[in-house]
């Protein structure tokens, strides 16, 4: 399983747990009013424990976690080692 797929699976599980029902990968979580910024913070902690690595949040905003697609991109971007 590629890194992106691993993140996607983890994100789907965490989002399902937070929202309480399955959500499509492009459905807005904050913009659609499904969860608030506090749930995003909880999501980050749960993703960290599922992926087994820290997610640096220095330059992130809640919009960076608005859909499962965006979560995958964000987590990939901030956790990949600097070139």
């Amino acid at each position: 399983m590629s890194e992106a797929e691993r993140i996607r699976e983890a994100a789907r599980e965490v989002v399902f747990k937070l929202v309480g029902h399955p959500v499509s990968d492009d459905e807005g979580l904050i913009s659609g009013g499904l969860i608030d910024s506090l749930a995003i913070i909880r999501m980050i902690s749960e993703l960290e424990s599922k992926l087994g690595k820290p997610i640096p949040t220095d330059s992130l905003q809640p919009d960076d976690f608005d859909t499962i697609e965006i979560i995958v991109e964000t987590v990939k971007r901030v956790t990949q080692p600097a070139p």
Binding site: G20, S37, S45, S59, L60, Q61, P62
Partner: protein, 478 residues
């Protein structure tokens, strides 16, 4: 020049007409000039202030981006400078007065306080936009700045004096001005603008004199009058600010520019947190993105930092509204309401061992939110803590039912409460009727236009009858 003035209606008609007549390449500079003319009519002495702040943000943004990795030192310097400007105009006297009150208690020397300066209109709004721009630049969310686009972003007249508070990334891309004129821009803009005018002149302003009377005179109120007064101010500020926001959004729509929504039926909130996702939504978004989220991701949502940050950030939201303890108390109260809600949520979650939704309790939370938000309007409007206590005392202690206002006050307040309760359903109905009428196969286009024109005339007539004096927008004072 307030949006609810005849001068503005003329200004708007001319500005929109010339905008669509101008060649596309001229529209950017044209908007900048028109925005500055508009700002000059609000306060000519400070017309250079947003431009100077824009220049400062432009230079600092270039420095941030000039480093191989975005430089947060420059970003911090920019934020400090922006806050210094805001502090100088808005908070200097308040802080010195508060400091002197403390030092005089300990018989220490006090500092001389020069007279309060005139507050540049909209300074709280464009300062927050400057800060957002600097943070977004350091986070790589906006590219190399253009001085003209940045200036246009900060002084764009529809939202210059009282928001919505914008992000550069949602407005600047719209400054490419590729769109051709479409009749639907005018229709959508007029719909919003005239509805805003009605909310302001027909709904909000008639309550103003009674609210002023109740809050500023020192008379004793009965329990009934205390609650009616708090409810009336809650209605006045809602229709005043939602009206302004609709007029701002409508003005921008006439230019083919989309601004974010600022209100979503706030008195229908299901919790204190939900209230802030419906009230002044662009301020909530700013606080969430640039204050609340960075603090709480650092602590990964741990309870104590979370609760402290809720009260702290909301107290700052209060201070942002105005330099006074009444505003700070209002904000801190909202923070405490949210802490209460979060504690209850955590309690339910711990018992059920799954994320809490508190759905079972929603009607009770809605009622609590409505009453708590209404009670919190008292310090916001009373400004003075002594008057706040007096009104709260009448609301929560004593229980007397006398009526001291004119009968019309109670009638108007109750009608507006009823309207607020039905507003989402009425708006949905209006949309359905609009779609049905506009697309009705048997109704010819001239008839559709006539119906719409008649509705606009009714709105404007209400404005002309009730707008005897131009009542200032409450939020344009912040």
């Amino acid at each position: 020049m307030a949006f609810n003035s005849y001068t503005y209606l003329l200004f708007l008609a001319l500005a929109v007409y010339l905008f669509w007549q101008a060649p596309k390449s001229w529209r950017g500079p044209y908007l900048l000039v028109v925005s500055l003319v508009y700002y000059a009519t609000c306060n000519v002495s400070f017309v250079a202030l947003p431009l100077a702040m824009g220049l400062g943000v432009y230079l600092i943004s270039r420095r941030i981006l000039a480093q191989p990795k975005p430089h947060k030192g420059w970003m911090r310097l920019g934020i400090v400078l922006a806050l210094a400007v805001l502090g100088f105009f808005k908070y200097r006297v308040f802080f010195l007065d508060s400091l002197n009150a403390v030092t005089s208690q300990f018989r220490l020397p006090t500092l001389a306080v020069a007279g309060a300066l005139v507050l540049p209109v909209g300074v709280s709004f464009y300062t927050f936009e400057c800060i957002a721009y600097l943070i977004d630049t350091a986070q790589g969310r906006v590219g190399k700045p253009s001085l003209r686009n940045l200036s246009n972003f900060l002084v764009f007249w529809p939202n210059l004096t009282a928001g919505p508070i914008l992000r550069a990334r949602e407005l600047i891309p719209q400054f490419s001005f590729e769109k051709e004129f479409e009749f639907k821009f005018l229709v959508a803009g007029l719909d919003r603008f005239i509805w805003g005018l009605v909310q302001k002149s027909v709904f909000a302003d008639p309550l103003g004199s009674w609210v002023d009377e109740g809050f500023t005179t020192g008379r004793t109120l009965s329990t009934l009058d205390g609650w009616f007064l708090a409810v009336a101010f809650g209605l006045q500020i809602y229709f005043d600010f939602a009206g302004y926001s609709n007029m701002a959004i409508g003005t921008a729509q006439m230019l083919g520019i989309k601004l974010p929504e600022n209100f979503r039926y706030p008195y229908h909130a299901s919790s204190p947190s939900d209230f802030w996702s419906r009230w002044h939504m662009t301020l909530t978004r700013w606080i969430r993105d640039y204050l609340f989220f960075p603090i709480n991701t650092r602590f990964r949502g741990a309870p104590l930092p979370l609760y402290l940050s809720l009260v702290g950030t909301m107290a700052l939201v209060g201070l942002w509204h105005g330099a006074g303890w009444g505003f700070i108390l209002w904000g801190a109260l909202h923070g405490l309401y949210m802490v209460f809600y979060r504690v209850a949520e955590a309690f339910v979650e711990a018992r059920r061992r799954q994320p809490a939704t508190l759905k079972f309790w929603t009607p009770l939370w809605s009622l609590f939110t409505l009453l708590a938000v209404t009670a919190a309007w008292v310090p916001f409007r009373a400004h003075r803590i002594s008057r706040t206590w007096a009104i709260w005392k009448s609301m929560f202690l004593g229980f007397s039912w006398g009526t001291g206002f004119a009968p019309r006050f109670y009638l108007v307040s109750l009608l507006l409460v009823l309207f607020c309760a039905l507003e989402p359903y009425l708006m949905s109905l209006v949309k359905k009727v609009d779609v049905a009428v506009s697309s009705h196969p048997r109704l010819p286009l001239p008839a559709v236009i006539t119906i719409r024109f008649a509705i606009y005339c009714c709105g404007l007539l209400g404005f002309m009858i009730l707008n005897q004096r131009e009542v200032q927008f409450i939020y344009s004072q912040f």
